[in-house]
């Protein structure tokens, strides 16, 4: 019995490890800019990591590395500025690795990357990618309030297998003016029917542009392939603090994750606009053969990623009990004070008799 248990445990562990390992080197897009103070270090870091990554790739790219200039254990300072969503222009960066705190900023591996930006109406536009401090960056201008999806596709052949990396990011130009928002369009997911694997966050019906994902929320994602739901695809979520969960898409291609609470500062250091990042990734493998740039492959691996942001739950810092308590206290004791004040000012009835004869 014990042996059976140990075997099952070992198998489970190896499965989880293989899933995690499979996703450990994922490519993802982020709105978080690399730290300015160490931009050159970050570039070196990226170049080094890039070189490491490319060394395992059949498509090699000239890159220099200087591991002495950076520290692999150094954390990336995540600077999520409150109010960022209110800006109509966005800049996106590329990172590699599923450790959100440590994964370095990256550049493209080469090949023939394609970039697409789709707005709420499903209109595609051409996006120009550029470089800043030796790092890939993408600048997108959003003409109208609402959600936009930016897609990157990068293909390479490694050990006879075609790797199709499909990082995607959901961009939002938010407005607190509800009249500026097309609610139906905001609630409707943006789908790119031209990609082989895509993760779509299912919006709430009343989501609007000012709602944010907060701890405790159940966030639903749908796995799509050329716009059609795919069942049985393992989808992993990793949060900024390293919490991981993997689920398999159901018949409708849907997976659901409950956002955990990871923010436990002292009261005086608490920030309600504190923003953590999560990363969702999905992998799909297919036995397809072909050739890319003269290199043949016998299987294809699709890796789709979608980052997101979440904040502390209002339940962590808002109290209706206190609010109602203060109001009722003021109304009851204030009312009593007014009553007593008015009563004190009442002049007692005093009868004055006048004798007409006198």
């Amino acid at each position: 019995m014990n042996r059976v248990f140990i075997v099952i445990a070992a198998l489970s562990l190896s499965l989880v490890t293989s899933m995690s390992a499979a996703n450990a080197d994922v490519l993802w897009l982020t709105e978080t800019a690399p730290p300015k103070a160490s931009a050159s270090q970050v570039a070196d870091h990226a170049a080094h990591h890039h070189a490491m990554h490319s060394s395992t790739s059949a498509v090699s790219k000239t890159a220099t590395s200087d591991s002495g200039k950076h520290d692999h254990t150094g954390m990336i300072v995540l600077d999520e500025t409150p109010g960022k969503d209110h800006r109509p222009s966005k800049q996106v960066w590329l990172r590699r690795g599923d450790d959100i705190k440590k994964s370095p900023f990256s550049d493209l591996d080469g090949g023939d990357p394609s970039l697409t930006l789709i707005d709420q109406a499903g209109k595609k536009s051409v996006v120009e990618a550029g470089q800043e401090n030796g790092l890939f960056t993408l600048k997108a201008e959003m003409p109208e309030v609402g959600f936009y999806e930016a897609y990157l596709e990068q293909r390479s052949v490694k050990e006879g297998r075609l790797l199709v990396e499909l990082p995607k990011i959901e961009l939002l130009w938010a407005s607190c003016q509800p009249k500026e928002i097309d609610e139906e369009a905001v609630a409707k997911p943006i789908v790119n029917e031209a990609v082989a694997l895509e993760l779509v966050r299912i919006h709430k019906e009343d989501e609007g542009c000012m709602n944010r994902i907060v701890s405790g929320d159940v966030v639903n994602f749908q796995v799509l392939s050329y716009g059609k739901p795919v069942a049985g695809i393992p989808v992993s979520m990793v949060t900024q603090e390293g919490w991981r969960n993997t689920q398999t898409s159901d018949a409708s291609g849907t997976v659901a994750f409950t956002m955990i609470r990871e923010y436990f500062p002292n009261w005086l250091e608490f920030k309600k606009y504190h923003t953590d990042v999560f990363l969702v990734s999905a992998v799909m493998e297919k036995n397809e053969s072909g050739a890319l740039n003269g290199q043949s492959y016998s299987s294809v691996r699709y890796e789709a990623t979608l980052p997101g942001k979440y904040r502390p739950s209002p339940h962590d810092y808002r109290s209706y009990a206190w609010g109602l308590g203060i109001s009722f206290f003021v109304i009851v004791f204030g009312g009593l004070a007014v009553y007593l004040y008015r009563r004190r000012r009442l002049k007692p009835y005093k009868e004055v008799r006048v004798d007409d004869k006198s």
Binding site: P178, L268, Y317, R318, Y320, W322, S327, G335, R342
Partner: protein, 328 residues
């Protein structure tokens, strides 16, 4: 009698309180529920169409965007971007000059709610309160202090002196923020925000003012209007407005009826027989004084110089006899 004179007589003899009640209902529905009908009057309204009433509102109070603009970093505030603020002020001004402080007397949802609370008090038979002369003079300064703080605190945020948690300081203490969304069944503003000391203090202060609002409005007519910085802002521009309240001092007998019906206890309305324009910073232009005046032409409301509602003997008698049943 010409048609115009017929109309003028009908207007002057109107049952004013009933007319005002229905006009207030109309404005309340427009500003609090107008969003249901797709009505959007913009965000520069000179009245408390509360922005916290989200999707339902038919327009937005100007004080909310004004405070947001004042919070801009100074380099932005004193640049070409300030044209946005000037444009906002221009729209606000155009709205304002149409009705002057009639926005307070007829359109303001917070004012209307106070009138409903007053009706409730009247129904219970509890007498109302009035300020003493000393209290009246002392408390009258508060609205000007609030108006000054409403500009200075956001400017201080833009200058980096104050925390961003102090943003929209007047909105945080305005009873409109807590009371108006209730009409859309939204109670989200009735909570204390413990995320920082500033937020905790401001949200507590907001609910404390809300409590005072309910007590005050119950015992004192138009309690909050006496402290309203929007009213103070209105007064700064009131001389340019089209709707005006005028008095012919020579026709006034100083009977004091106008003072007795005035919700804001403005004594000048009865005492001042020198000035033609008798608008004071407290006047909400409810025109109850005109309706209560028995002297023909002593008090009148004019629009662009044309009298639209004036005191008449017949109107006074009709309104005073309202509901009276003589036994014959």
């Amino acid at each position: 009698m010409t048609n115009l004179e017929h109309i003028r007589t009908a207007v002057n003899n109107v049952q004013f309180n009933r007319f005002r009640f229905w006009l207030q209902i109309f404005f309340f529905a427009l500003l609090v529920y107008g969003g249901y009908l797709g009505i959007e009057l913009g965000k520069h309204l000179p009245t408390f169409a509360c922005g916290y009433n989200k999707e339902l509102r038919g327009g937005m109070c100007f004080l909310m965007p004004l405070q947001h603009w004042m919070e801009w970093p100074w380099e932005k505030l004193f640049s070409a971007a300030a044209l946005t603020i000037l444009y906002g002020f221009a729209i606000f001004f155009l709205w304002f000059i149409a009705l002057n402080r009639g926005w307070c007397g007829f359109a303001c949802p917070v004012g209307t709610i106070q009138d409903w609370i007053t009706s409730l008090r009247r129904w219970t038979g509890i007498r109302y309160s009035r300020y003493s002369e000393g209290q009246y003079k002392g408390l009258g300064i508060i609205k000007w202090v609030l108006l000054a703080l409403m500009f200075l605190i956001p400017l201080g945020i833009g200058g980096g002196w104050f925390t961003h948690d102090l943003k929209s300081p007047f909105c945080m203490i305005c009873p409109g923020r807590t009371v108006v969304p209730l009409f859309g069944l939204d109670v989200s503003q009735w909570s204390i925000d413990f995320s920082s000391r500033t937020n905790m203090i401001m949200t507590s202060l907001g609910l404390l003012v809300t409590g005072l609002f309910f007590i005050g409005a119950f015992v004192k007519k138009r309690f909050f209007c006496f402290y309203c910085p929007m009213g103070a802002l209105h007064y700064l521009f009131s001389k340019a407005a089209l709707l005006r309240l005028n008095k012919e001092g020579a026709k006034c007998t100083r009977c004091g009826d106008c003072y007795r019906v005035c919700d804001l206890q403005i004594k000048e309305i009865a005492d001042d027989i020198q000035n033609k324009n008798i608008m004071t910073d407290d006047c909400i232009m409810c025109l109850k004084c005109v309706a209560a005046c028995p002297e023909p032409g002593a008090l009148k409301a004019t629009f662009a110089g044309i009298p639209i509602f004036e005191a008449t003997e017949a109107g006074f008698i009709k309104r005073m006899n309202k509901g009276r049943t003589d036994d014959k």
